[in-house]
């Protein structure tokens, strides 16, 4: 698979842990890759419990600077914006491989809907609750869905009860935080990296993977879309 453009949307608890190993891999596997980091939020001291950063400031910019100084082979750029309907088509274009590391279903739906308009794209989305979570893999090839969009069978994404962070005030964004476990973030990031390797090296093996930290259980699923 062509890895000319990789995008990470959301540079928080999952995105900061995912970005480093992805750069390590790409630096050797595909050093011509352009990596775009997208996040409109800022690192704050309270984020240090779960997120990796060396200075305060915009998450995409701080992380792009940190990664750029370690992976000079790659072209790494920051987009200090929340993903919206107005910029998704600019940031995510044909042939992109997109990691969705956002913390709200409204943005997942936005990304999934946008990717459904592209002919060729891979979207790998991860999310966690306190001690469990999942990863979804949405692949389109030649204008056809190879796997189902994130919204399929997932009403919580198809009809999100939350809002895009671009629509929230700083106070509202701060109030949306719920307790999270750094190990759940690690596990999502690891599962997303694994899904990336599988889909780029071996094709579609599963399109959703669940995990539970307490039981240690993990289950990959390849669901076929129901024929009407």
């Amino acid at each position: 698979m062509d890895l000319t453009h990789v995008v990470i949307v959301g540079i928080g608890g999952v995105g900061t842990h995912l970005s480093w190993p992805i750069c390590q891999y790409l630096a050797y596997k595909s050093p011509k890759t352009r990596l775009t980091l997208i996040d409109g939020d800022n690192f704050e001291p309270r984020n240090a419990e779960r997120q990796v950063f060396t200075e305060l400031g915009n998450k995409a910019e701080v992380t792009a600077t940190r990664l750029g100084s370690n992976f000079s082979e790659l072209t790494i750029e920051a987009k200090p914006h929340f993903l919206t309907e107005d910029n998704a088509f600019v940031f995510i274009r044909e042939g992109a491989l997109v990691f969705c590391c956002v913390d709200n279903h409204a943005s997942r739906k936005l990304l999934s809907d946008h990717c459904s308009t592209l002919r060729d794209v891979v979207l790998i989305s991860g999310g966690n609750d306190y001690d469990d979570g999942n990863v979804q893999v949405y692949v389109r090839c030649n204008g056809e869905d190879v796997t189902s969009p994130l919204t399929y069978l997932h009403d919580e994404i198809a009809r999100p009860q939350d809002r895009n962070p671009a629509e929230l005030s700083c106070e509202e964004r701060a109030a949306t935080g719920t307790p999270q476990l750094v190990f759940a973030n690690f596990t999502v990031a690891s599962a997303m990296a694994n899904a990336f390797w599988v889909v780029t090296e071996h094709g579609v093996v599963y399109n959703e993977l669940y995990f539970d930290l307490k039981s240690g259980a993990q289950r990959p699923v390849l669901r076929k879309k129901e024929q009407k």
Partner: protein, 93 residues
């Protein structure tokens, strides 16, 4: 994905009912159970033992598929049916 077969009913004074195996999946968990022939989907999803083993957190009213197809709660299950309750995606990151 180990499929241990677990009788739901330990004893029947009037004799053992005919049983069939079904597999129930939810999130990372998947397990086979033996249930009475002719059981409905609802009888499986509301069974406290199965709910405990499979780890249903909600009321089980999420999207349910049987052998890959949507099914109503009064659906009469066939032997070896694969029942999946779709676990909602994690919201945070």
């Amino acid at each position: 994905m180990a499929a241990s077969i677990t009788p739901l009913h330990p004893g029947f004074p009037d004799g053992e009912p005919e049983l069939m195996s079904v597999t129930v999946s939810y999130g990372p968990n998947s397990q086979s159970f033996e249930i009475s022939l002719g059981s409905t989907l609802d009888s499986v999803l509301s069974n406290p033992y199965i709910r405990e083993i499979i780890g249903f957190r909600d009321d089980g009213k999420g999207t349910v598929r049987v052998d890959g197809f949507s099914a109503e709660r009064d659906w009469v299950l066939s032997p070896n049916a694969n029942i999946e309750v779709i676990k909602p995606s994690g919201e945070k990151a």
